[in-house]
């Protein structure tokens, strides 16, 4: 907001990324996500002066609580809250009730009206569903019945933020979308995949489209193959019960992996805005060759970890974890060969792997380039030379590494691969905003670029749906791998068959 918005005193105060007056209504306000992620992110935004003084947090949950108790709970969620946050928490309100009870929304309507009057939230609302996904449709419908899904006033906005999972499969995802669209228009719906809020995921766009040197080689002519790794060293912990109903394919591949893949392989958008980026992502997702049932066994590996050693500690196997059935066939590892059938990427395999209890926590995209057409050195001189590779490390050690050949110093002419390593942490020592900070502010500002559109969700489900269907049959082999290894042997064979091998990140 600047002078153009009627307050000339704001000019020069870097307010273009500042939320307008609004009420943020959090459903599941007494839950873990709210206190572990949302409240600390809001506090950080408040300390950074990104929230308007006319901001109000409204909690909705089943747990009975007064406004004062809710405010105290909100303040407790941050060890040393800033003065700016304390001032905003004074505006906070709480509504106790069932998520689909009309009485809850009647009371909510009254509270929001009071906040418009007293705090100046100007009829602007962001409804954030930090609840179990089973109630998404019910809350949306209740908001619609009460007229709370429609802005009251020409300049006001009403938005709905939901967290993944967006359905359990293609059919349930479409069903959820239909239910949401009964009360909200698509442009009001902000689907969060917190991966997209990570600074380094966004940086894939900067690397590709702000530099002249990468895009010309970003295609089938130069790239031999792509490897995408999303590895976790942790097991399922106390989430065994949830994980049994999800598995790595639903939990990671359908969203995080395919989003990273889309950003990496999409065509350059005309503009870096919501429509430009999301249109291009959808095109890539549509270009992915959807597997026929017979191909699933060839191109996809389903794995589950057994007891092993990770980072110096012995850890239980998946079937020994709390809440997991002793004979569970839920996958904790997926290795896949993905084909992107478009002009740019035809014939370039994209190998994807994700798993729990792998040796380390790492997310990276590696582009391995084709060999030179002719290597004018004796083979003994190039023993240590591998293909050129550009590695985009997304977490935890965000950066970019370029592998190329260099002469080993000395009389002999020996060429060896070296890595030129750029680390964001070492170049920009500034703290980067947490993913939730970024996404919450985007939702309030009204920038949907980093949120997932309905057609993206649908296309991503179309990619994994045939695999889910094949795997629903208990006859599909389940490869076992030791905790602390890079996955099952079958996943290695997936690449060996093509004369390639996985990188060790």
């Amino acid at each position: 907001m600047t002078g153009a918005d009627g307050n000339p005193l704001l000019e020069g105060l870097d307010t273009e990324r500042r939320a307008p007056p609004c009420a943020l209504v959090v459903y599941g306000a007494s839950g873990d996500l709210t206190h572990r992620k949302l409240v600390p992110a809001l506090e950080a935004l408040a300390s950074d002066r990104r929230l308007s003084p006319a901001f109000a947090l409204v909690g909705v949950a089943r747990t009975p609580m007064s406004d004062e108790e809710f405010r105290a709970k909100v303040l407790e969620a941050v060890p040393k809250p800033s003065a700016a946050w304390e001032a905003l928490v004074a505006n906070a309100r709480y509504v106790a009730g069932g998520y689909t009870d009309d009485a809850t929304f009647e009371q909510l309507d009254r509270v929001l009206g009071e906040l418009d009057e007293q705090v100046g939230t100007a009829g602007n609302r962001v409804h954030y569903l930090a609840t179990v996904p089973e109630v998404f449709a019910g809350v949306a419908a209740a908001l619609g019945r009460r007229g709370l899904s429609t802005p009251r006033g020409d300049d006001a906005f009403v938005r709905l933020v939901i967290e993944k999972p967006f359905g359990r499969d293609l059919a349930s995802a479409l069903e959820l979308d239909n239910a949401l669209h009964e009360s909200f228009r698509e442009e009001q719906i902000y689907r969060i995949d917190h991966y997209l809020g990570k600074e380094t995921v966004q940086n894939v766009l900067a690397l590709r489209f702000a530099n002249a040197i990468f895009e010309p080689i970003w295609n089938r002519r130069y790239v031999d193959h792509v490897q995408i790794t999303v590895a976790e060293s942790l097991g399922v912990g106390h989430r065994g019960g949830f994980y049994e109903t999800a598995g790595a394919l639903r939990d990671i591949v359908q969203n995080h992996v395919l989003q990273v893949l889309a950003l990496t392989l999409m065509e350059p958008p005309a503009t870096i805005d919501a429509k430009g980026i999301r249109d291009e992502k959808v095109k890539v997702l549509r270009a992915i060759d959807v597997l026929r049932p017979d191909d699933v066994a060839i191109d996809v590996v389903r794995g589950q970890y057994e007891r092993g050693w990770v980072e110096g500690a012995e850890v239980p196997g998946y079937r020994e974890e709390e809440g997991v059935a002793p004979g569970s066939r839920t996958e904790t590892y997926v290795g896949m060969r993905v084909k992107v059938d478009n002009w740019r990427w035809a014939g370039v395999p994209v190998y994807v792997r994700t798993g729990k209890r792998l040796p380390t926590r790492v997310t990276e995209v590696a582009m391995e380039f084709r060999d030179v057409p002719h290597l004018p050195f004796a083979s003994k001189e190039t023993r240590g030379l591998g293909p050129n590779a550009l590695v985009l490390r997304i977490q935890p050690d965000e950066g970019i590494a370029l592998r190329f050949g260099a002469k080993v110093p000395g009389q002999a002419f020996r060429v060896r691969s070296v890595s030129m390593d750029f680390s964001y942490g070492a170049a920009f020592l500034e703290e980067t905003p947490d993913a939730y900070e970024r996404l919450l502010l985007d939702a309030m500002v009204g920038d949907p670029t980093l949120f997932i559109r309905a057609d993206e969700v649908e296309e991503a489900w179309k990619v994994v749906q045939p695999i889910l269907e094949v795997w629903s049959d208990d006859a599909t082999p389940l490869a076992r791998y030791g905790a602390g290894t890079w996955g099952p042997r079958e996943a290695d064979r997936l690449l060996e068959r093509d004369g390639r091998r996985w990188r060790n990140p």
């Binding site: 005193l9 003065a83 700016a84 100007a122 070492a426």
Partner: protein, 332 residues
């Protein structure tokens, strides 16, 4: 000529008296080569400090090190001595090492005591020492640079601290800001006052009053008060006569406004905060209409914080320029 090398853990120090710039450059690369480990040099800026005495150098270096995490880079401190002394340069180069997220990160401090004729040509010393491809900001720790100083031409941004100046120098600062990108630490330090006071007008009941401000009352040390008054009058299009100034220990600003036949006052004032901290509190007389107090905790090290703020916005600050131009109208 005497030289010495010392290593403190990951740090290397080189000192030389009566040295040439080539020796300083050799020392820089020598210190890096001396380290067995490879490390990243974190560089987003070259920060040159021009100081009049040892105390100033120490004050500036402390501030630079405290902001190191936000703006890592090469720090070059220049201490020009009276021109009558025999020409010569005494130098100290310090290689700093730290580990950030598992990566060794290096940065360098260079300190030059410049005697005699070279003190008139500091630009010739700075240019070979600056890192390529990152901006050069030159900070005159106290006072203003001579407009003819050739070092100004080597500076992408000129940092001054108006709090070290006389009120009579307002015109000179305004003139400098018209020619160069000037980053004023005093102005940067007033950002919290501007933020919280501007925020008071965002509450619906207060919005009509922003166009109805008729009087500006400021108090506090000379320059903060001048800049706050200049800011408010330039932003709100008020004449110099709308300003009333009074002395005070800490900056404060009060705006009197009218709208819809009502009168309201909007204020921002520094106050003691919890645990010995200081806060800026903003409030208005519209509390009954939903306006709320706003508070912002001030940084513990205002100089380092203001320097970090200034370096974050390494471009021309139009709002500052207009505030200065307005301040010329009512400065003594």
């Amino acid at each position: 000529m005497a030289e010495s090398v010392a290593v403190h853990g990951e740090l290397g120090v080189w000192r030389g008296e009566d040295v040439g710039l080539g020796q300083v450059l050799d020392a820089l690369s020598g210190l890096r080569r001396g380290e067995q480990r490879t490390a990243t040099r974190a560089s987003v800026t070259n920060l040159v400090q021009v100081a009049a005495g040892e105390d100033e150098v120490a004050r500036a270096c402390t501030a630079v090190h405290r902001l190191g995490r936000r703006h890592p880079g090469r720090s070059i401190a220049l201490l020009p001595r009276p021109r009558a002394e025999p020409s010569g340069i005494d130098a100290e180069v310090i290689l700093h090492g730290s580990v950030h997220e598992g990566h060794p990160v290096w940065s360098e401090d260079i300190r030059l005591v410049v005697r005699g004729e070279p003190a008139s040509h500091l630009d010739s010393l700075v240019k070979p020492l600056t890192l390529a491809d990152v901006p050069v900001a030159v900070w005159w720790v106290t006072g203003l640079p001579d407009p003819a100083d050739p070092l100004l031409r080597a500076a992408g941004a000129v940092i001054v601290d108006c709090a070290t100046l006389d009120e009579s120098q307002v015109g000179a600062v305004a003139a400098l800001a018209r020619r160069f990108v000037v980053l004023d630490l005093c102005w940067a330090g007033l950002r919290p006052w501007r933020q919280v006071l501007a925020g008071q007008f965002e509450v619906p009941a207060a919005r009509p009053f922003v166009a109805g401000v008729r009087a500006v009352e400021v108090s506090g040390p000379t320059w903060p008060a001048l800049l706050l008054a200049g800011w408010a009058t330039s932003r709100l299009g008020l004449p110099p006569g709308a300003v009333r100034r009074s002395p005070g220990l800490t900056p404060a600003i009060h705006l009197s406004a009218q709208a819809g036949g009502r009168t309201a006052t909007f204020s921002a004032e520094q106050m003691p905060g919890p645990g010995g901290s200081a806060i800026v509190r903003a409030w208005s007389t519209l509390a009954a209409d939903g306006a709320r107090d706003d508070r912002l905790t001030l940084p513990g090290d205002p100089l380092a914080w203001a320097l970090g703020e200034a370096l974050t916005h390494l471009g021309r600050d139009r709002t500052h320029g207009q505030a200065l131009a307005a301040a010329v109208g009512f400065a003594g």
